[in-house]
């Protein structure tokens, strides 16, 4: 185990290495790519939520001067996006679905040509409400989805019925979350260059070059080596960019047909159509608590609107199923997760991996159960929280766990004891706790990340990884790790990634695997390089290899820093030796487990809110966030990650909703799909808990999604505390808050007024 005192780079604030480039506009994003002869594409999209495509007439579009290629189903009869979605389907199943596409000399001409494509549709009845799709007798939308259930996952651990029978308290609650959109800083865009020799190069923001490479190779009948993925600077991932989407295939198909590079980018509301974010979901929980306050059993029945096609949403059920075990010591669980087909656009999930959204409900449900039993929620969490060394019923093992410490510290700093139940009217405090896996074997049989590093004569280094930096600052983290091992400084290291011709394999930047898996691979590669140097240094100093110290750009025999030589001198001497050795280190990391995860991060957040009883507006006054990240490699970035996730959690809890009507988004713009601004964001108080994970790189675990799973439930519990009644649907907009308050005063009668209230709001 690494002692903090021995670390010279890890644990110190390191500004992002690409910060200046990003801030000054020098960083290159995919839309900056301009290739000689590049064409611009425009997609013809369905205006109907469900219809048979009778005929597509492209003759007028093809005749337009400047048009170089038009593609339809005839060009791609076999091409499939994900599991069930042909690229250009014979029946369109959502508004905005691709029907044809054109490539022209410029974007304006492409748009003009797209408008000239005449498509004849035979409209079919559509279902856009996923609960209506589940009703018995509802029309079946897909041949492979009887009852409109495209996928179902069920699992039981222990004996739930017995555990319920032995429970002193139990309750059942239902929660909803609504369609959302990943407001990426960078629009969806792809540049594809399909050259005559059968080589496809695609520039696009991506979380996993490997998955894109495999999917595109399979789609076009190429070998993986024939597909070159280029990931430049990327403005956000949020898991929505972990899989290939239709526009990637369209760009490649157009390029193949035109024999020229093609750029396809989202214009205006296309951003909302090309995105794959959260759909409306229903979460039904039933839990039982023993007379001793121990949580015995949890039952979760989840239904997700997965939209018109199942692309990769099955992972939602896998993730939520596993998550049920990560926080509490349980006797039994029962899980059912269903993906429901509708004629909305295919959904995936929003920032928070479906877990933060589930936690909006689960956290409130358990808070209420604790209160039923007369327990303070903090007491309840502490009584039931998992700890170090615990192995769950599902087989997850926690080699490090700072959950109880996070709960205690967050509650103490927030003044929980003197505030809970004691705040003035319309002011409330709430807690949310969470856990998150660092990496997850299961996509493939391996979960490998690889790295290599080369050291130049002047002591500067190039570190090659396959891990994309989408803004999470992973390149800087990798440089910190390599610098720590080699006694260098992060600024000495250039991190090179994003070109599959150059970069080594990496499963990708999702499932919070970057810091853990790629970080361990970088340790291996840097250690390999250090061993090569240490051998030379040991000879020179006349000591054993293990006695050589690498620190602060210098190398010395242990205990004799007076004999130090510069690292670059050692590299120079190694190269200019009789053998002429050039130092290159290589390494990889693959979780030794057969499946699942080596390490889990934990956290707790306490939110304090005030509610305006007249307008229903919720103001988040304060958030205290305590997170066990194993080890903070770069505390400044850890705090930045926490801030970003508290912001996104607050935003989803209170603001973000794609208002869908008959399969069409009513607010597909950054003006009408409202994210809060800095005015709405409290200063977050950070508490970093370091449990020093035995398997993590220098003890580190993920911090890419652990914080957000706590935020929404903490705010929701604070709102319930403030107004005395829960708001069971997210986002907790003013109208939903007012409605919840009104229902508390008088028993609900007839139809909820929500629909009517929304109508009024739609005026703007």
């Amino acid at each position: 185990m690494v002692r903090k005192a021995d670390l010279t780079v890890v644990g110190r604030d390191q500004p992002r290495l690409d910060g200046a480039a990003r801030l000054t506009g020098r960083a290159e994003f995919t839309d900056d790519v301009r290739l000689p002869g590049m064409l611009h594409a425009k997609v013809v999209r369905s205006p109907l939520p469900r219809a048979r495509v009778v005929n597509v007439d492209t003759s007028a579009a093809r005749r337009l001067p400047g048009v170089r290629a038009v593609v339809t189903r005839e060009d791609a009869p076999q091409l499939a996006v994900g599991l069930h979605q042909p690229l250009f389907d014979t029946t369109v199943n959502y508004i905005g679905q691709e029907v044809a596409a054109v490539a022209a000399l410029d974007e304006a001409t492409a748009a003009e040509a797209a408008a000239l494509v005449r498509v004849e549709y035979e409209p079919l009845p559509a279902i856009t409400d996923f609960e209506a799709a589940l009703v018995e007798g509802a029309a079946q939308l897909h041949p492979k989805a009887p009852g409109n259930v495209a996928w179902e996952l069920a699992e039981v651990h222990g004996d739930p019925e017995r555990a319920f029978a032995e429970s002193a308290f139990q309750r059942e609650d239902v929660y909803y979350t609504n369609p959302s959109h990943n407001c990426y800083a960078e629009f969806h865009v792809a540049v594809a260059d399909y050259t005559a020799g059968g080589r496809l190069t695609v520039w696009t923001p991506s979380q996993s070059a490997l998955l894109f490479q495999k999917a595109l190779a399979a789609g076009f009948g190429l070998s993986e080596g024939q597909v070159r993925m280029m990931t430049l600077h990327t403005g956000g991932g949020f898991t929505g960019r972990s899989a290939v989407r239709p526009h990637h295939f369209v760009a490649a198909l157009l390029s193949r047909k035109a024999g020229r590079p093609v750029k396809l980018r989202a214009v205006a509301d296309e951003e909302f159509i090309m995105c794959r974010a959260g759909g409306r979901s229903r979460y039904r929980f039933r839990s039982g608590l023993g007379a001793d306050g121990r949580l015995k059993v949890v039952e979760a029945d989840l239904a997700f609107d997965s939209g018109a096609y199942v692309e990769s949403q099955m992972i939602l059920t896998t993730l939520t199923k596993s998550y049920l075990h990560l926080l509490y010591r349980l006797e039994a669980t029962r899980y059912r997760g269903r993906l429901v087909c509708t004629n909305n656009l295919p959904y995936y999930f929003h920032h928070g991996g479906g877990l933060a959204q589930m936690q909006f409900g689960w956290g409130q449900h358990l808070d209420a159960l604790a209160r039923d039993a007369g327990l303070d929620p903090v007491e309840f969490h502490l009584l039931n929280a998992v700890g170090k060394g615990h192995t769950t019923m599902s087989g997850a093992h926690f080699a490090s766990c700072g959950l109880a410490e996070c709960i205690t510290k967050a509650a103490r700093q927030a003044g929980w004891g003197r505030k809970y139940g004691r705040l003035p009217k319309y002011r409330g405090i709430g807690i949310g706790i969470g856990a998150m896996a660092s990496g997850a074997k299961g996509v493939f049989r391996h979960d490998t990340s690889a790295a290599f590093i080369k050291i130049a004569e002047d002591g500067t280094m190039s570190l090659f990884t396959g891990l994309p930096d989408m803004g999470q600052s992973s390149h800087t983290a990798m440089a910190i790790i390599a610098a720590e091992v080699l006694g260098a400084r992060p600024v000495d290291i250039t991190v090179i990634s994003g070109d599959t011709d150059v970069a080594p394999l990496d499963v990708g930047a999702f499932s919070q695997r970057g810091t853990f898996n790629t970080g361990n691979a970088v340790i291996a590669a840097a250690s390999d390089a250090r061993a090569q140097l240490a051998k030379v240094a040991a000879e020179r100093f006349g000591v054993k290899i293990a006695q050589v110290v690498f620190r602060d750009r210098q190398v010395w025999p242990k205990g004799a820093p007076g004999q130090a030589i510069a690292l670059k001198q050692l590299v120079h001497d190694t190269l200019h030796s009789r053998e002429g050795r050039y130092v290159m280190g290589r390494g990889f990391y693959n979780s030794p487990k057969a499946s699942g995860t080596m390490a889990y991060s934990f956290g707790a957040q306490v939110a304090e809110v005030s509610v305006d009883p007249e307008t229903g507006v919720v103001t988040v006054e304060r958030v205290v966030a305590a997170h066990d990240v194993g080890r903070a490699l770069n505390p400044r970035i850890v705090e930045g990650q926490i801030d970003g996730q508290v912001f996104s959690g607050l935003s989803q809890a209170l603001y973000e909703e794609v208002l869908m009507e008959d399969g069409q988004a009513l607010n597909p713009s950054r003006l009408d799909y409202r994210l809060p601004r800095s005015f709405e964001m409290p200063a977050v108080e950070h508490i970093i808990v370091e449990s020093n994970d035995p398997y993590g790189p220098f003890g580190a675990k993920e911090v890419g999604e652990g914080p957000i799973v706590c935020t929404m439930q903490a705010i929701a519990n604070a709102v319930a505390h403030a107004i005395g009644v829960p708001v069971t649907e997210m986002p907790m907009t003013p109208s939903r808050v007012l409605r919840a308050m009104a229902e508390r005063r008088e028993p609900p009668a007839g139809d909820p007024p929500l629909r009517h209230l929304l109508r009024g709001r739609r005026l703007r």
Binding site: D106, E107, T494, P676, R677, R764
Partner: protein, 315 residues
Amino acid sequence: MLYCAPTGGFPQDRRVQLPAFEYLRPQSLAQALDWLAMYGTRAAVLAGGTDLLLAMRQRLVVPEVVIGIGDLPELRGVAFDGEGVLHLGAAETLTTLAGHPLLRVGQPALAAALQSVGSRHVRNVATLGGNLNLPTRCWYTNQSETWRQARVPCLKTGGDICFVIPGARECFALNGADGAVALLALDARLELASAGGRREVSIAGFYRNDGLAPTTLAAGELVTAVRVPAAAGRSTFIKIAPRTGLDYGLGTIAAVVAGDDDGITAARLVLGSIASWPVRLHEAERIVVAGGLTPATIEAAAQAARADLGELTNL
């Protein structure tokens, strides 16, 4: 720090955002008005462009010519005229006006209203005249062309139905011109000009409660200036919006109230963002003037306002 693709190549990258148009830049107000008369409905006027360019991108407006009036000196200026009336050039930016001492000190409601518009970036180019001529807005029309094509036309786009209020015979698209709310409360007047001459109109006379034609501005006519009399009392403006700034109001209110030791002597109350025009609350004004401000009169005034507004509210 990142491996980058070679770039460069096409210098031209004609993008799809705006429809093609001819841009005309007049040398004087007279020339602008002549061109406006000549091109009529084929022309659009551009000052700050914050709303026009968005509408053009959405193909809600596809003008043949765009006449840029933003830097005409005749449309600028912030000064008192001889009678203590504040004269505001229509092409002054919202940043200039909201930060101007004559408004901040003398007309706080108007300064606050203009400060509440958009973001700093928007206010740096958006103009007073543009704000007063803000098109009425609705989720079913202020969308891209392809979005609208997924539905039949509504009242505002040439059809005969309304998606907001099924069965409606008229368009209720909302007027979110924050400046107008304050100016109606302040009893301001607008100076209008066309090639045919000039006229002056009260704010109340300028707006109509009609989502399709929310102003009485004639073809070929421009708002050239706003005349704001000294406030007859203390004034304020409040905007309720989903987020702070960068948003249209869910509801706005401007109030100008005069009083003495015996109570309120005069009041002008105006609500905005809830109808196709700014709504003056005559009955509520009468109640607070007659009874002063007590919990009972406040409730009565609120009831009267609700009654005036009818069913259609957004709260």
